[in-house]
Symmetry: C2
Subunit: 163 residues, 2 copies
């Protein structure tokens, strides 16, 4: 048995023992919004944005990037589950910043051109976020009615800054 | 100004005001593991798995599916940031269950065969999770040394069940 798995199951037992008040939560987010942010361990979106269970969708990947899969999730969030406001939240000191696709390919020993991966690295926080917001707003399946915001989370202060 | 944005910024101000103890957290997850789970609003992985800021990567998408982007994130998590144990946590009453790609395409008015999207819907919780774990374990860039676990979160009880 894994030690980490034991820790998780033990924490989960405590959590579930006080769960009764949450058992009737519904699938569609109560506050009708979704957050897309980074997987970074320092980020707890429920805490830094004040979410309770049931409030909002939270999508996370390396970089908080507007990847095809993040778009899939946001489109589902809107069309099937009624969100109409989306927050893309990237952050300072991100591991995807200031490294290149080539460097990561090299780490994995990927040399064959056809096997190279777009790791969605980036060079500049604000530029990256702006481009991602444009990509999302211009996507053919994203309705103009969706309110889309961009924010940067500062891992040194815990503050969100609107782009 | 959006009402939801105001709410988020106000909650964030409170969070950041007590942030000092977290300002020295490092990028690599302290507990060397990553969780992949669903974006569902009812799920708070930090709470249900007992995570503090800095402990673990959290990746989330519609369904908690092992998508290409989730694999990208997990590979980065391991190779660049040192995680060596991954938990794929899907859940009961998921919005991606028991709906078909065709039905979602129809919602979006997608008729052209070449524009159809794989929304990563599924029919059965355990079958889906098993297939996703196999996909992850068999991926050419995932080392055999990574410990990979599958769990199902019950949204009615808050309990995690190991597959």
């Amino acid at each position: 048995m894994s030690e980490i798995l034991n820790e998780i199951l033990s924490a989960n037992k405590k959590y579930a023992s006080g769960f009764k008040s949450k058992s009737e939560l519904k699938s569609p987010p109560k506050k009708h919004f979704a957050i897309l942010t980074c997987m970074d361990a320092r980020l707890d979106p429920a805490k830094f944005a004040g979410l309770a269970e049931g409030d909002a969708h939270v999508i996370r990947n390396a970089g908080g990037r507007v990847s095809d899969d993040a778009i899939r999730s946001l489109l589902i969030s809107h069309k099937l589950l009624g969100t109409d406001e989306w927050f893309v939240i990237q952050h300072t000191s991100c591991g995807m910043c200031c490294v290149t696709n080539e460097e990561i390919d090299k780490e994995f020993g990927i040399e064959n051109e056809s096997k190279k991966i777009d790791w969605l690295t980036f060079e500049d926080n604000k530029k990256c976020l702006k481009e991602d917001l444009e990509k999302l707003k211009n996507h053919s399946l994203v309705p103009d009615s969706i309110k889309i915001h961009g924010l940067i989370y500062d891992v040194k202060t815990g503050f969100l800054e609107k782009l």
